[in-house]
Symmetry: C2
Amino acid sequence: MTYTPPVAEQRFVLDHVVRIQELAAHPGFADATPDTVDAILEGAGAFAAGEYAPLNRIGDTVGARWRDGVVTMPEGYRAAYRAFVDSGWGSINGPVAFGGQGLPYALATVVMEDLGTANMGFSLINMLTPGAIEALVAHGSPEQQATWLPKLISGEWNGTMNLTEPQAGSDVGALRTSATPAGDGSWRIKGQKIYITFGEHDLTDNIVHLVLARTPGAPAGTKGISLFLVPKYRLNADGTPGAFNDVRCVSIEHKLGINASPTCTLSFGDNDDCHGWLIGAEMAGMRAMFTMMNNARLNVGLQGVQIAERATQQALGYARDRVQLGQPIIEHPDVRRMLVRMRALTQAARALVYYAAGQADRAHLGDDAARARLDLLTPLAKTWGTDIGCEVASLGVQIHGGMGFVEETGAAQHYRDIRIAPIYEGTNGIQAADLVNRKLPMAGGEVFASLVADIRAEAGDEAGLMALVDGIESVARWMLGNEASVEDRLAGSYPLTTMLSVATAGWLMARQARIAATEASDPGFAALKQVAARYFLDHVVPEAAGLEAAARGGAALFYQLDAETLAA
Amino acid sequence: MTYTPPVAEQRFVLDHVVRIQELAAHPGFADATPDTVDAILEGAGAFAAGEYAPLNRIGDTVGARWRDGVVTMPEGYRAAYRAFVDSGWGSINGPVAFGGQGLPYALATVVMEDLGTANMGFSLINMLTPGAIEALVAHGSPEQQATWLPKLISGEWNGTMNLTEPQAGSDVGALRTSATPAGDGSWRIKGQKIYITFGEHDLTDNIVHLVLARTPGAPAGTKGISLFLVPKYRLNADGTPGAFNDVRCVSIEHKLGINASPTCTLSFGDNDDCHGWLIGAEMAGMRAMFTMMNNARLNVGLQGVQIAERATQQALGYARDRVQLGQPIIEHPDVRRMLVRMRALTQAARALVYYAAGQADRAHLGDDAARARLDLLTPLAKTWGTDIGCEVASLGVQIHGGMGFVEETGAAQHYRDIRIAPIYEGTNGIQAADLVNRKLPMAGGEVFASLVADIRAEAGDEAGLMALVDGIESVARWMLGNEASVEDRLAGSYPLTTMLSVATAGWLMARQARIAATEASDPGFAALKQVAARYFLDHVVPEAAGLEAAARGGAALFYQLDAETLAA
């Protein structure tokens, strides 16, 4: 079972949520003409459905295999990855100076959606390389950029992010990997990193690890962390991969899903011969890490959209074919409810993530308000996008009935694959903490207030949505005031994240429904958009309003028991 | 990682939710003395933790294996099952006349909870045999009862339910398996059944299949269905297993979870030598099926409690050990939120399922009002119990962070195992339809009204709960009135099921908190109960109230699009 790229939907969201014509009007994105956008949408969708999707099942059943430090990908993956590089799908928004196409990130988002909808596990290699590119663009020296960026942008080499160590997960500051100056401008890296996505594999002839490490005498915690570029193979004078750089893949994880993505434990410098190069200033590693991770967070939110789209298409196909009680089950009311919900959540999450991507593009063009809004939206897109991905995949299993629990249908694979998304790149709990601790208070609450004002201005006639927004504002006032403690804010952070995500997505759905009613050329598309929006506003929005009590419930109840009593 | 049986909690719920002393006051259950209850709780918990729990992981990793029609269970399973039979844990509520202990079903529920918390996949053999026992007790002839019940009650033989065929899932009436009279009082069975839990295995020396089939000239649909007893081996004159009865296990499913439970495709009568015996009257198979399934539905709801308990214990253990940012993560507010939620949902679901079990016992004693309430509660316990099982298991994965996605911790196994529960024994959608189509209108709505009256009478001071009950009554009035069509009712059936489940569980939690405050001897237990109840009433209840718009939203929106447009 493959899938059909949702080209019309993607185009509509680009037009009316991203407002890509505004971006194209800027000289920095002048190449994003309507024809180019169409060509990318059609081309990326066809590529993903044709090359990546057919490999999804073997990626799950055979998966990446480790033996003696070597990771082998399943049959067909090398050829498909080669085709990815050759067709340039990794270079959409890379800087032109280094071989990129200089197009908006919102367009790269569409390409990534297609690849991940086709094959989430495989597409992780395409999703993490951009983080390495961003870090080098923002913090690398001109020489480093010239050396590494072209190959990363083309995809000939992939990039990885090396943050986590066994004792240092969400607590990045606890990491112990060390970097010692070698006297020649390079450093010697020593330590072990876990959960490194595509940290070892046989798809490319080099791998560019970006590694957080601690330099001699560095202070404890996050302040003492620096970022290093550590290739699998050091480069020859002509830039080709040369000597092995003492980076070993010790093992890969046996996981619940995304089996096509090797999750590696990497050991750096077992033989004291692992060379690294500092990216940016010493001790400035955390800032560089956030550069790497910010887009990655949006991209993980996008994974929720990917799996939701795939699960929805598969469930719709099954529900049309499967006859029970004299009719296809798509005609049964509760199955309809599930399918409409799947459609609505998927469209709404796509709108939220694409909208955030559009803000990233405006920020790139120097728009500080867009930068601030992007910062506010990032935890929402990551958390809510991944949460709905899990919910929609679960509904997909449910619609398949008993067949959904049998692995052969593939419905269960989506359910397994997506479960990582609320965890990695900062757990959703970390995202929610980021929202209430850092994002809500930005500019004295004005960044938040500006988003709410936009929602009110455009969707003021949606009574349910306005009631939700009232609730959000009430919670936000309480959290920003003196009454609520840090613990109180954190205790309500997750429900508030959901509420604000739903309100923002509801606003964008209301807008799309209004425009579709008058402007969409395809009446079926317009009707579906309006039903999805109506369901979202009339069903999902009131559910989110039901979270207000939890959002402002405070922490006292949670700490009424000591840990021992809670766990007794 | 094993688990600790929640004996004090189980006892408290038996005392104050089931009110087991009321049952013991009846001559029919006079043996259910406090000492016996304590002995069963302690004994079953110790047995499950000692014998079943250690086999949970091998059940998942090795699982049941099929080869040439033979199913082999993993190492250790035969001995553990033998110990189960020897210790009599299967006979708690079996009729005394056939070797049972004649104790309340509510006590059998506790035993089943322990077995399933220890090892959900394995415990399915213990969960389905009671359905066969119930069917024989209610519909079998005296001779059939004498022949089969003792071995089923002891557990020496297990029982299976054979309903589903490839074209007949929720649509049971579409089944094609045939039964032809053989002239000697027996019938010849021919056909194929799928999804037969423990339909073949090496734990017992016979298997008693209860099979729905169609007799010659039977009308189409559910009216033409009869129930047959079809053993794996026919019996010798002395009652021991004799000739092979032409029932073959063609294959077992490769599933998302419960790998210790062989899910079999059974072929009956390939060689025209499969003998069956009619249970009850010809064409009365549907009624007998509901006898089999009713308790099974409660037991599936109980599986939600089982996995929720296990996942919660495991997450609590991990959260106390795992240190991040200078303290165990159990001290982080959002982790606290998740853990308190897990506790609250687990306790609330346990209260709901046990309460329903207590109604089954009263019905058994001839209380018609209790029978009616049980009928109303069954779809709630099945649907909401399994839904919270999935949610709590997912929270368990989340608390483990990256480790939760790695199979070695076992958190992912719970998440996979429980996903079947919303599907089998009637999908949750089928349950929700049962609620609005059959249960809500019982006695002109009086059965529903009586439950609501009890909630109001005892928990009238809980404002949030009363608001939820107001919403439920408003939805019910609309559904029972002339305005709402069948499709409208079905469109709102799932949200209403959740609302009524939460209201009922909230009522029982409020009662327990009140009693715990004054009567519980262990202050830690009392404090935990009160926090769990408070969380449930202040956080979960308002969420459920947020479903009112969906419950009375009607079907029009879902049918605004034809299937083709929805799926385009």
